[in-house]
């Protein structure tokens, strides 16, 4: 039994949709980078007593923002590390 079933396709330029499609990890990283920056800035400059009280004393914007930036970095790191491998992606 073949490991990778042949996709039935009209044209066959790119070997698989996965390599034709952009890398999703970059998009995820982008999302969290932008969110992270905005939240961190809000946490630093737009947080007062009221916001702290709401979240039980935690500066939620700041911490969430930082966590998101870390996640973005992790995804970017993952993309980088597997860059050399994508060139050898099996054709099908």
């Amino acid at each position: 039994m073949s490991q990778n079933p042949e996709p039935e396709r009209a044209s066959y330029e790119a070997p698989s949709a996965a390599t034709t499609l952009f890398d999703l990890r970059t998009v995820i990283a982008l999302l969290f980078a932008v969110y992270g920056v905005i939240l961190t800035l809000m946490g630093l400059f737009a947080t007062g007593e009221a916001e702290l009280d709401m979240a039980g004393g935690i500066n939620l914007n700041l911490w969430t923002g930082i966590a998101m930036l870390v996640v973005a970095a992790i995804f970017l790191g993952w993309v980088w590390r597997s860059r050399p491998l994508t060139a050898q992606t099996q054709e099908g």
């Binding site: 079933p5 039935e8 698989s16 996965a18 034709t20 999703l24 969290f32 737009a46 709401m54």
Partner: protein, 564 residues
């Protein structure tokens, strides 16, 4: 009646959103639509559009698998259950999902993926006969449109209450966004967006849980306040879950949970629901396909932490929910638990992320239904039945047309769903009608080669009728159980009747010759064909489906031990 509640709620539950919160939402939409546009370039056939050309890696299909299930119904409904019943809600995850997901990956996926069937109905045609394929395709199409509508309605309610848009505006706008990216980018756009949605939903739930716990004084503080509340200690321990089932006898309650929920409803949904299975079929290899549901099982096991706990927190922190639990008159329902807690503990900023997360959850649910609908309709109803023999590009166009029509119909059924008070119960009931019978014939057909073609569709029909009868009996008060337990009972009845009828019919009709059933029946499929490659991209101990399956089961058992 529901509209009244909503109008009242509107004034009181409006979130204090400011402009910056909308920046988060807008940016998220930009990415979602961008993914749709970019994915379009990879589409050159109907298989690309409807099944991503069977080429996606396991981590993507695995996360999409679980995200397709994390719709607005799941979020709103499960936090509602957390607020209403407390810890027993975990059963929906640990018994109600994990074992079935592992079973799907390890046992059933080789048959699905190996058969090269493009949909569950097509698999049924191969195993049984064309009539079974058609009965199931129609039943599934109907179920998809109804469920997509429920997702849409749930989201419409949320948007209306939180942001002040009217239902008539919120529902079509939301539908339009989903339509845009699924129309352009097909299943690939849907799957990529589901993975994105998964992370945004986490970005909603994790800060919510953290902030909520901080407000109530941590886990021990929460325990104290819950124990002192109307739910008492029953809310804090998962067994016997009598408040959940409303079955007074603990033994019967446990039985109801384990058999009704854990086996029939759970296996019925996860092993046969095409909205889920489709994500695994889009994987690039047998190994990846088998790993898909198992990879999805890990987050599924852990997510209750950030869904059940906020539900419980909401019940003690939000005064109006506390009043509801004590049985006092109030203008909120448990379905409002999530949004009430959001308004209570999240500052602007994270609040915007949370709103984006809710919208993401809705889109994940609805897109999954629409994408599975268009695959089943295009292949099983249109190509195999009504208009066979056309070139592939014709069917690609049909797929796109069905996407549009499906979204429009969902808008219609959304307003039907609005007439139900508890959407979780409504959903479970739909599952008992549509999924439980399918599971019955599926599992019988897999392990009993004597089962014949006609037995397939007669079993389906008998099972569905039984479930409907049980539902009507519960609705009429003849069976005195809760709505949820009614769904468990209906599912069990459907399963038993489906199998019984299938057996009787099988004995009276002729089965297909063995040669035609190779690869479709357990006893006729040699072990080698059920294996997957363990070389190249599929190598590595951490890529073994069996090992991963065992790991997640151990994790779940461990979680049950930790939780009271």
């Amino acid at each position: 009646m529901v509209t009244q509640t909503v109008v009242l709620a509107q004034a009181d539950q409006r979130l204090d959103t400011i402009w910056i919160d909308y920046v988060f939402v807008a940016f998220y939409f930009v990415l979602v639509l961008g993914i749709g546009v970019l994915a379009r370039r990879s589409i050159s056939s109907s298989l690309d559009f409807l099944l991503s050309g069977r080429s996606l890696p396991a981590w993507i299909t695995g996360l999409a698998f679980i995200s397709a299930n994390l719709g607005a119904i799941e979020l709103i409904g499960m936090t509602a259950n957390g607020a209403q019943y407390g810890v027993p809600t975990v059963h929906y995850y640990w018994i109600g999902a994990i074992p079935a997901m592992v079973f799907l990956g390890i046992v059933m996926m080789p048959f699905y993926y190996g058969s090269k069937a493009r949909s569950v109905p097509e698999f049924l045609r191969k195993r049984f006969n064309t009539t079974t394929q058609r009965v199931q395709a129609v039943s599934f199409a109907l179920a998809s449109v109804l469920i997509a509508g429920v997702n849409l309605f749930a989201l419409g309610l949320v948007i209306e209450a939180l942001l002040g848009w009217s239902l008539q505006l919120a529902i079509p706008v939301a539908a339009l966004v989903v339509l845009s990216y699924t129309f352009l980018g097909g299943l690939s756009a849907g799957i990529y967006n589901e993975v994105l949605q998964f992370f945004v939903i986490l970005a909603l739930l994790i800060p919510l849980t953290v902030a909520g716990l901080a407000r109530v004084g941590g886990w021990s503080g929460l325990q104290e306040r819950v124990a002192a509340g109307p739910g008492g200690l029953g809310d804090l321990s998962s067994w016997p879950g009598t408040s959940l089932t409303e079955i007074g006898t603990p033994f019967l309650s446990v039985l109801g949970i384990v058999f009704g929920l854990g086996f029939v409803l759970s296996f019925g949904y996860w092993t046969t629901n095409f909205a889920e299975v489709q994500r695994a079929l889009a994987a690039k290899s047998m190994s990846a396909a088998r790993r898909t549901p198992i990879i999805g099982a890990f987050p599924k096991a852990l997510i209750p932490i950030v869904i059940v706990i906020p539900g419980m927190i909401a019940a003690v922190l939000v005064p109006r929910l506390g009043a509801l639990k004590r049985g006092e008159a109030t203008d909120v329902t448990y379905n409002n638990a999530l949004s009430l807690l959001m308004g209570e503990v999240l500052p602007n900023g994270v609040l915007g992320v949370a709103v984006a997360g809710l919208l993401a959850a809705f889109m994940a649910g609805m897109a999954a239904n629409i994408s599975s609908l268009n695959t089943v309709f295009t292949y099983d109803i249109w190509q195999d039945w009504l208009r066979p023999g056309r070139p592939d590009l014709y069917y690609l166009k049909v797929g796109r047309a069905v996407t549009v029509i499906g979204c429009l119909l969902a808008i219609g059924t959304a307003f039907i769903a609005g007439s139900y008070q508890n959407i979780m119960t409504y959903i479970q009931t739909l599952f008992s009608f549509f999924n439980a019978p399918l599971f019955a014939i599926f599992i019988l057909g897999l392990f009993w080669k004597r089962m014949t073609g006609p037995a397939g569709w007669t079993g389906l029909v008998a099972g569905t009728i039984s479930a409907v009868i049980v539902d009507r009996l519960v609705a009429a008060g003849v069976l005195e159980v809760s709505g949820q337990a009614g769904a468990f009972l209906g599912a069990s009845a459907a399963f038993v009747m489906g199998i019984a009828v299938a057996v009787v019919v099988s004995l009276a009709t002729r089965p297909k010759p063995d040669a035609e059933l190779v690869g479709l029946v357990w006893s006729l499929t040699p072990k080698e064909t059920r294996m997957h490659s363990t070389t190249g991209e599929d190598a590595g101990w951490y890529r073994s489906p069996t090992l991963l399956g065992v790991l997640v089961l151990v994790l779940t058992a461990g979680l049950y031990l930790i939780v009271p």
